[in-house]
Subunit: 269 residues, 2 copies
């Protein structure tokens, strides 16, 4: 299966989101077999995380981006539970606090970069600083345009320091978003979190798609690749994300370290 490769953007290529079908499933169909594949991937993630922890050589950083209702929370809930919660930290990046705003935009990101052996999952990330910030004109173009290089430098630095970076753009259609937001309005377990601003960004759909296209195009290195995951169908999204993570962690030849002590010499009373 070369699903991960097919969803990965090639460095240097210009991204056109309109050309990528958000409902695409790359020939897969929903089935019990596929459920089993997802379950197998989730189990495999747990093994690979343990191996990475044992090896203590590299860390995994997963960046999740997407429009509202694209499925970031759902992906975490359904796929990332494969990771042992010990050694896996999810950071949701919300509107920056006054202290965070008093710093450079990567300051709060750097603080939660994973240590060797650990997994960090960013629910939104520094990419908001070239997407939402741009769409809402929080800073002038001269500032956000400079950030592409700053992000590239930062991510290259992390990669050089053994952080494996995977960036996932959950790609949904405007229609699918509408249906999801409507269901949210009707669900008593989710009505409490509805705010009018949630619906504001929807009006800027085109601006967002364009800002994402630029971010995905400008910040896409071999060691910090973007994947565009068609996300209208949740089952495909979950399968694809799990597959990308498994293939990413299987790529390096990770091995359990040798014991540091002569085990034969240990006796227990």
């Amino acid at each position: 299966m070369d699903l991960a490769r097919r969803l990965r953007l090639k460095p240097g290529d210009r991204v056109h989101l309109a050309d990528i079908d958000p409902a695409g499933t790359h020939g897969f169909e929903k089935s019990d077999e596929l459920e089993a594949m997802l379950a197998k991937n989730i189990e495999r993630l747990d093994e690979l995380q343990y191996l990475m922890y044992a090896e203590h050589r590299r860390a995994l950083l997963v960046v999740l981006q997407g429009m509202d209702a694209a499925g970031k929370d759902g992906t975490i809930r359904h796929v990332m539970t494969g990771f042992n919660p010990q050694g896996c930290r999810v950071t949701p990046f919300k509107a920056p606090t006054p202290v965070e705003l008093a710093h450079d935009f990567l300051w709060r990101v750097h603080e939660v970069v994973p240590g060797k052996g650990d997994v960090a999952i960013f629910n939104r990330s520094h990419y908001e600083d070239v997407v939402a910030v741009r769409v809402h004109k929080v800073v002038p173009p001269s500032v956000w345009k400079r950030r592409y290089d700053q992000i590239n430098d930062f991510e290259r630095y992390l990669a050089e320091n053994d952080v494996v970076i995977v960036k996932l753009f959950l790609h949904i259609s405007k229609d699918e978003q509408k249906q999801r937001l409507e269901r949210r309005l009707e669900d008593p377990k989710r009505q409490w979190k509805v705010s009018l601003s949630d619906f504001d960004d929807r009006k800027r759909w085109k601006d967002y798609q364009r800002a994402y296209e630029d971010a995905l195009t400008e910040c896409n290195a071999k060691d910090a690749p973007w994947y565009v995951v068609p996300a209208d169908k949740k089952w495909f999204r979950n399968l694809a994300v799990s597959q990308i993570l498994v293939e990413t962690l299987e790529a390096p030849d990770m091995r359990f370290p040798k014991p540091t002590v002569d085990l034969a010499r240990i006796t227990l009373d």
Copy 2:
């Protein structure tokens, strides 16, 4: 089922670990039915965590303590995966760093106390500062004895500020520890982490049991109770921990907040 109540220590009671059977199962027997009960509890934890997150009124702090090989990591792996990784952070407390040592002993603990709606799991905790630190004579008795009150004040303060505290002592026998350490020595996936110091604490078994008895007795408040979980049998340990957590989160009458906006006024294009 009143399993949680039976495992909870009564405030004011003196704890005698030797009187509590580490292999006890409180009448339960390993069965498919029990597996299903654990699975149900784990699902329920996810629901309760979501409700706590929605309510945004209280936080959950789970403290895990126990001898080496008592099953702290295993409990996290098998039970705490019930929590959505977003909003659940596991902090393993290891030997303090120089910066941590330059501060009061609760400084590094306070930093990772959960915020409203969140779950924090401590793999070891500030209790090492009255247990391991005492056994290894890191500080004089005048210092660690004073810490009981300091811990009680700190935990009461957290409880008054809506942190729900659950403290779990995983209680294993010296024989069971021996078997587990031996299996660890033989397991190629775990040999890498064997260090001679792991076996050193076993020689101080009695000192540790006594230090734990004092800590469990001195620091056991209604709002920050200790549970002694018989942990020789992993299936019982997992069931008991899941049950304690479910009952703890079901105790307060948590409800979804009302929507803050007039949902009928929202229209989607």
